[in-house]
């Protein structure tokens, strides 16, 4: 079952949602994210494997996005319960010799990495994440306005990959759209490969200007 994005007509239902730039989740980092209203902990193991899990430890409900990564396991900050790659609890520090029952597990979503972007799907899609051509990741920003407002300001429609292809500071960019609750949106921004650092700084400024305009549209007059 697909969730579309709050009745927008400009966007097709998505299998994959971009949630972060790969470089922003290096090994042993966990971040909170939201896909189709579902709160997730997105993280990378020490060997480099990305994962997206429900952001909730089944012990006492603590957010796993506050947790810590050791090796291939994610542990909860509250009591240190540690979960293996399958989301199965493998160690409970209060009972270090106990093999935790199989029932203690965290629901695991589908995570993949492509083009310098981490993508998440809430069910198996049978497809690879969208390929975006010769673009490289630049930065992510969160906007306190919906994707439709951002799209309208760029004059471009969100395509079937959930992307806005637009020039910022005269540089071709791809803005990957991640809808967030309460009419907000995260934009994961890629720039044309070969864009200089100085030009990327210019893109960053233009992005902030776009955000400013989208957010002032949202304010009442």
């Amino acid at each position: 079952m697909q969730n579309d994005n709050r009745g927008q007509t400009t966007q097709m239902p998505q299998n994959w949602t971009a949630v972060a730039l790969s470089r922003d989740v290096p090994p042993q980092v966990v971040i909170p994210s939201v896909v189709d209203g579902r709160e997730l902990a997105v993280w990378r193991s020490q060997s480099g494997r990305v994962a997206a899990w429900d952001d909730r430890c089944p012990h006492r409900g603590m957010r796993l996005s506050h947790g810590f990564v050791r090796g291939e396991a994610l542990s909860c900050i509250y009591h240190g319960w540690s979960y293996n790659e399958a989301g199965l609890c493998q160690r409970i520090p209060a009972h270090p010799d106990l093999v935790p029952p199989d029932a203690i597990r965290v629901p695991v979503q589908v995570a993949a990495e492509s083009g310098g972007v981490i993508w998440v799907a809430l069910q198996e899609t049978g497809q690879a994440p969208p390929s975006l051509g010769e673009f490289v990741p630049m930065r992510s920003v969160t906007v306190e306005a919906p994707a439709t407002t951002v799209a309208a300001l760029t004059g471009v429609e969100i395509d079937t990959a959930g992307a806005l292809s637009v020039d910022l500071a005269e540089t071709p960019c791809v803005l990957l759209v991640q809808n967030l609750p309460a009419d907000r949106v995260a934009l994961h921004v890629l720039v044309a490969a070969g864009t200089s650092a100085a030009a990327q700084a210019g893109v960053s400024r233009a992005l902030e200007d776009l955000r400013r305009r989208a957010e002032s549209e949202r304010q009442p007059a």
Binding site: I31, F68, L98, A198, S204
Partner: protein, 219 residues
């Protein structure tokens, strides 16, 4: 060197943190900020008419304002923390020290409002705090594009220490730090520095240590 200190104060923590990172011994004198309001009593107002903490005392010199104390302590005991002795670097560090005032006035104020019931225009504080975090995020992106890991260059300086605590503690005042990937990675770099010490609300990075025991085997 004496620091008149409150364990929950991010501004006092900046000084405690620099001392720990620079390997300097300072003596802490706890001030009953809450619930006692001791910082507003006559003996403290005599030392600091602003009625704020931290207050720092060394060799007859009394300093207030965490930015000033950071500058003094670094100059005296850890000059590398001031950054390179070039006009540009001096300017950059001073810029961030000045900026950090806005963090205290927005995030700091939201935090004591939400936690300790101190009065504040909470919506204005949160809005200003979000703006500050966005500025730090943008600056860290620029720094990364220029090949630098810290606010004023390739190594941490008091510019980073001045901005670090509020960047982590913003959620205490109802301001999310989820939308700032560059801030997240920069705070991890600070927390991984040798000699780093926490304050309440900033947890230890347990991932820096391996699992202490074996994983029990599933049969």
């Amino acid at each position: 060197m004496i620091l008149y200190d409150y364990v929950l104060s991010p501004d006092c923590y900046k000084v405690r943190l620099l001392a720990a990172l620079a390997g300097v011994k300072i003596t802490l004198r706890p001030v009953d900020f809450h619930p006692g309001g001791e910082h507003k009593t006559a003996p403290f107002l005599a030392m600091n008419p602003s009625g704020t903490i931290p207050i720092f005392e060394d060799d007859g010199v009394i300093l207030t304002e965490s930015s000033a104390i950071l500058t003094y302590l670094a100059a005296k005991a850890g000059p590398a923390w001031l950054g390179d002795d070039t006009p540009e670097m001096r300017g950059r560090v001073a810029q961030w020290l000045a900026f950090s005032q806005r963090l205290s006035a927005s995030i700091g104020k939201a935090r004591v409002h939400d936690m300790l019931n101190k009065p504040a225009d909470i919506e204005a504080c949160r809005k200003a705090g979000t703006q500050c975090l966005r500025e730090i995020e943008a600056a860290l992106v620029d720094q990364r594009l220029a090949g630098h890991d810290f606010l004023a260059g390739d190594r941490p300086t008091i510019a980073d220490l001045a901005c670090f605590p509020h960047s982590m503690l913003a959620p205490d005042g109802g301001i999310s730090v989820d939308p700032y990937p560059a801030i997240r990675l920069w705070t991890r770099r600070v927390r991984a520095l040798p000699g780093f010490i926490e304050m309440p609300g900033i947890h230890r990075l347990h991932d820096l240590k391996p699992e202490p025991g074996p994983i029990p085997e599933r049969v």
